[in-house]
């Protein structure tokens, strides 16, 4: 972060963590470095079923977390709570098409599809992700594009800067490299500023 000039990173617990403990840990780290980090809670829609609203209220009001990350299709229970608390949702889908139903059902929830839609490294998923972001006003794409840089260029060209959100997936990926990816788009300064922080800041600011 320091080397690349990244001011704030959103921290997310590792995938498959037990959410209660992992979210507490994230909150503790954020508390230690309040100017460097903001925290997202992680939830497993099945394991946490029936308790999500209550857990999330505590995580937001008590622990100060600012958003939610899920690795499986979020259930109606999850999205109802997320909508109520006006949180942004970070979702790493198995397939980009996992976004269709949830984006239609919860148009008021801002949803960020990470890795430009790719988990299984299939190039075709990038095309699908771009089409989905085009279709739903509430769907944004994270910029850590795995299968070829040209898809990020394509996304910038077809969607514009308002739909892209810089997200590094560090520390497995290097945030310096991921930032460079965005800079290499050679966007106009105002557009680059949107991708590198303004878009996500706006989504975070709508919180209750």
């Amino acid at each position: 972060m320091e080397e690349a000039g990244i001011a704030v990173s959103a921290l997310v617990p590792p995938a498959k963590s037990a959410s209660e403990k992992a979210n507490q840990e994230i909150a503790a780290i954020v508390k230690r470095y309040p100017e460097k980090f903001l925290g997202f809670a992680i939830h497993n829609p099945e394991a946490d079923r029936g308790r999500i609203r209550e857990m999330l209220r505590h995580e937001v009001a008590g622990l100060g977390l600012k958003g939610v990350k899920v690795c499986r299709v979020p259930t109606r229970e999850v999205l109802t709570a997320v909508a109520e608390l006006r949180l942004p949702l970070l979702f790493h889908p198995a397939e980009p098409s996992d976004f269709h139903m949830i984006a239609q059902e919860f148009p008021q929830v801002p949803m960020i599809m990470v890795e430009l839609g790719v988990t299984n490294r299939e190039w075709a998923a990038h095309y699908e992700a771009i089409a989905i972001a085009q279709r739903y006003p509430n769907v944004y794409l994270g910029t850590a594009a795995l299968s070829g840089y040209k898809y990020l260029e394509l996304a910038a060209k077809e969607l514009g800067a308002a739909k892209l959100i810089f997200a590094s997936n560090a520390p497995e990926r290097d945030s310096r490299v991921e930032l460079r990816r965005v800079k290499l788009l050679h966007l106009a300064p105002a557009d680059e500023a949107m991708v590198l922080g303004e878009n996500i800041s706006r989504l975070l600011a709508s919180r209750v």
Binding site: P171, H186, A188
Partner: protein, 276 residues
């Protein structure tokens, strides 16, 4: 986008000026010029089957634009995946001829679909078309390895599994074998990066190429455990962006001499005479 293009051009101008300024002292002192930055892994030309980006088309204009912006002097180009490679290798030779001083052409072959014809084809490609190496996706057969050894060219090989590297590495120590992607395309199997590092440690003739490694920590590990003599910069362009791939090597922050080896010196040693 007009503003973006304008900024882009200023960048190039400033960068070329800086590069020219940096090159000046060496020229004045008459010191031995170091090899240019060489991108050892890039696809070019048309694909026959059109089932995926890597079987359809790679445009050299994109590659040339990235090279200029990043300060890459030469790029090794070879065909996309095709059923057979006679036509595609000819196309590579044509592209090299059309852009003198920019590309180093490698042939590509399929050990199965072209079995029995490979020595004759490769001989033509090396001796008449001026191609300088061989790129492989499938495990090389004895036919291929014998021909490669005879013509004294390097192999860039992207193995389906790391273990497939051993027969060639053990049986043909005279052939420089460059393993693409540090052994695992897009770090899909991160543990393969570790196996690749071990193979490179054990075999004097095995080198690791840096393209499309998304887990930067394994590039760092390879540089630390193997040292700069065993690493070769490549981008897997133009679909993987050589500007970004070069940046990843620069981030290793190697001493200048070590970085120069990774960025061109190592592969330059193994290219046939007249390649640069």
């Amino acid at each position: 986008m007009a503003t973006g293009h304008f900024r882009h051009r200023i960048d190039i101008t400033r960068r070329s000026l800086l590069a020219a300024a940096a090159a000046l002292p060496a020229r004045l002192s008459g010191a031995q010029a170091s090899p240019p930055v060489i991108d050892a892994h890039c696809h070019a030309g048309l694909g026959e089957t059109m089932t995926a980006p890597y079987t359809t088309r790679n445009d050299v204009d994109v590659t040339l634009r990235h090279m200029e912006e990043a300060g890459i002097g030469r790029t090794v180009i070879f065909p996309l995946i095709n059923p057979t490679y006679e036509k595609a290798n000819q196309e590579i030779a044509d592209l090299c001829g059309r852009h003198p001083g920019k590309f180093i052409g490698f042939a590509k072959h399929d050990p199965e679909t072209e079995a029995g014809r490979i020595r004759a084809m490769l001989r033509h490609e090396v001796e008449s078309l001026g191609l300088k190496g061989l790129k492989l996706h499938k495990q090389p057969t004895r036919e291929i390895l014998d021909a490669v050894a005879e013509f004294g060219i390097p192999i860039l090989y992207h193995p389906k599994e790391i273990a497939m590297f051993y027969p060639a590495a053990d049986g043909y120590p005279q052939i420089p074998l460059i393993m693409a992607h540090l052994g695992s395309f897009e770090s899909m199997n991160w543990n393969w990066h570790l196996e690749a590092i071990e193979i490179a440690k054990k075999h004097a003739n095995v080198y690791l190429e840096t393209s499309a490694v998304v887990a930067q920590q394994f590039l760092e590990l390879a540089a630390k455990e193997l040292g700069p003599d065993k690493l070769i910069f490549g981008s897997d362009g133009p679909d993987h962006d050589s500007r970004l791939e070069l940046y990843k090597v620069r981030l290793l922050k190697l001493p200048a001499e070590a970085e120069a080896k990774v960025l061109g010196g190592n592969i330059a040693r193994w290219l046939p005479k007249g390649s640069l």
